[in-house]
Amino acid sequence: MIGCTEAVRRLWEYLDDTVDLDERALVEEHLARCSTCCGELEFATELRRMLAERSPDDLSDEIARRLNRTIEELGT
């Protein structure tokens, strides 16, 4: 059995699926009886989703034009 501190320390690894089976069981057993840590899990899930989000304006036309010119000039 683990407490909140230990469970929270493993939450992201739990979401990443990089904990081993024993640790996964410990986290899930803690989550089953701790609503605060369930809230923290929900929060971490949303934070992780935000981190993965891309902004739409990554490649401006100007940069694309310059880099494409580099590509076309390679080897010529």
């Binding site: 929270v8 992201w12 690894e13 990443d16 990089t18 809230g39 923290e40 929900e42 929060f43 971490a44 949303e46 934070l47 992780r48 935000m50 981190l51 993965a52 989000e53 891309r54 902004s55 739409p56 990554d58 490649l59 940069i63 694309a64 310059r66 880099l67 494409n68 580099t70 590509i71 076309e72 390679l74 080897g75």
Partner: protein, 210 residues
């Protein structure tokens, strides 16, 4: 059309020696054009305003080493690996040296609990999600840019680009345990920087209910 198909088609129209060189160059250009938006997106997250220079350097190095690529399907990962290595010089000269960070203090930080303790929106029923809702995608990118490169790189590659920790370890030529440890600290730093950014940019200020 796959890269090796491009090679096959071009090889039919030139002499053997020239054909191999010309077709290799064209195969590289095809790969580079396909991957350009993704490379720029990664570079922007890794090095911000230096992204164009890093992608340029990556393209030149990759072109010189293209004969080392044996498997077409490994092309995107291979290019990413070269890009990351181009950024490593900047990583070493990072603006904020990781030694300045108090890791004991960091280890005990939880953004979730900090928000609950500080209670920035007293009239909210969903305090934590309201906090996150204040962040646009550009704000999150700005927070990521505040992290030292040593932590930013694994965070970007794993959470934004979907690489496995093992693959990042190979790119950086470090043990996988090192990547996992940097990810752990990187996430903690990201959480703390989310709070500091919210404070600095007034995301915690809200009109009080009457």
């Amino acid at each position: 059309m796959r890269l090796r198909d491009v090679v096959a088609v071009r090889a039919q129209t030139a002499g053997p020696a020239e054909a191999v060189a010309v077709d290799r160059d064209e195969s590289f250009r095809t790969l580079a054009r396909q991957q350009l938006p993704r490379l720029v997106a990664i570079a922007r997250r890794l090095v911000g305003d230096d992204a164009e220079d890093m992608v340029q350097e990556c393209l030149l190095k990759a072109f010189q080493r293209f004969t080392q690529l044996r498997d077409d399907e490994a092309g995107p990962g291979w290019l990413t690996s070269i890009l990351v290595n181009c950024c490593r010089d900047l990583m070493r000269a990072g603006a904020r040296h990781p030694d300045e960070i108090d890791y004991d203090d960091l280890e005990s930080f939880s953004l979730f609990r900090h928000i609950a303790y500080e209670d920035p929106y007293p009239y909210s029923d969903s305090l934590h999600l309201d906090f996150l809702a204040e962040f646009e995608a550009e704000d999150v990118r700005a927070v990521v840019m505040r992290l030292p490169l040593i932590y930013r790189v694994p965070l970007v590659l794993v959470y934004m680009e979907g690489f496995l920790a093992r693959e990042v370890a190979e790119m950086l030529d470090v043990p996988v345990g090192t990547v996992l440890s940097r990810l752990h600290r990187g996430r903690k730093l990201f959480e703390r920087q989310m709070w500091e950014y919210a404070e600095e940019f007034g995301l915690l200020l809200r009109e009080e209910a009457p």
